[in-house]
Amino acid sequence: MAKPTPSQTVGPFFARELLWQDGGKVLFPGHGDRITLTGRVFDGNGAPIFDALFETWQADSGGKVPSGGDGARPYGYGRVSTDTNGAYSIDTVMPGSFKGPAGETYAPQISVAIFARGLLKALQTRVFLAPLEEIKDDPLARAIGDPERLRTLIATRDPRDPKIYRWDVRLRGAGEAVFIEY
């Protein structure tokens, strides 16, 4: 059986190569409630990770998987790097929930991949845009079980601006986010 090509780190030198103008503005063919997903990425010492590539892929506001693009860019996909404070920001629409092949319900969520120097493989996960009590039946929430760990994947709404969802990501140690594999 053939073996998959091994992963390697994205390294520190990708900004000119992989980043796009307005890569953090996620496009969709239709309308939806515009929201911002923003936060910071930290390492195991609590230091901000200033050189991560942060990617998002999500359903549209009706829970439909995007296909095609607006001409120049694919729908539903965002790509930014963290800044010197470890901060990222994605301007997108609120994704709808969607069904899996066995009828299971996926809560409103965004699939995230993080690449960086010091990460030999991508870190993949899903961030939830709904509170704990509304995601209990989600397949990943059920697989995690422990509410404390699950909370690491829940973006919280900014009380002053409900269009802003905040999600900090700790790669290692206290408060370490849950990461997934397929």
Partner: protein
């Protein structure tokens, strides 16, 4: 089954000889899930997202870049041997002196005004790609005393499903620096040769460019047992 195969070839997150992994590798085990319907699909890059000229890194400047010109060909397949069609490949690399045009690259080597080191293309209907470039140089890094990265070309692939997303590096055959590179050595032995291109003279250009071949294999989007 899939688990064993993956463990065979992919590096661990924590590989202490590569120092940056010590503070960035997750300590908790990953949670295994089936790809969501979203992750079983992926972003669709329209045909005109890339320009044909972007597969030739040697025509970016006013004249030819310095270095050993090379043609790199290969195919991208999934685990079932099916071609990954019309899928975005992005490549980037140092110039022939081992220098990136990047503000945080402090290696005291010259930039080449005729080389940016960035390319992209979509695979064809057979999963094939072809890139024209120059062989990148090795460069020193501060991971450990006398550390040098072997010459490498970075690859970013999307596959046909977001669950197949891969970023990797391609290396050159016979490079003595491979033995001292913790990034390359982080890959279990069974996977290392999969990151090394083969000389493929016939795909070069006679008298002009050396040919290399680098095939890549991505996990199938449904290679995970059903369940969660």
């Amino acid at each position: 089954m899939a688990e064993t195969r993956l463990a065979d070839v992919h590096p661990p997150y924590l590989y202490p000889d590569y120092k940056s992994t010590r503070h960035r590798a997750p300590a908790q085990p990953l949670v295994r899930v089936a790809p969501s319907p979203l992750e079983a699909a992926g972003p669709a890059f329209p045909k005109h997202f890339v320009k044909e000229s972007e597969a030739d890194l040697t025509t970016w400047g006013k004249s030819a870049p310095l270095g050993e010109k090379m043609v790199l060909v290969g195919r991208v397949l999934d685990e079932g041997g099916r071609p990954v069609r019309r899928s975005l490949i992005e490549v980037w690399q140092a110039n022939a002196s081992g220098k990136y045009p990047h503000p945080v690259d402090d290696h005291e080597a010259p930039l080449d005004p005729n080389f940016l080191g960035k390319g992209q293309l979509l695979t064809d209907d057979e999963g094939r790609y072809r890139v024209v470039t120059v062989k990148p140089g090795a460069y020193p890094w501060q991971n450990h005393a006398f550390g040098w990265r072997p010459a490498h070309i970075h690859f970013s692939l999307f596959g046909n499903a977001y669950a197949q997303r891969l970023i990797t590096q391609m290396f050159f055959p016979g490079d003595p620096l491979l033995a001292i590179d913790p990034i390359f050595q982080s890959v279990p032995e069974a996977g290392r040769k999969l990151l090394i291109a083969d000389l493929d003279l016939e795909h070069g250009v006679e008298g002009v460019a050396l040919g290399y071949r680098f095939d890549m294999l991505l996990r199938g989007p449904h290679a995970t047992p059903m369940g969660v």
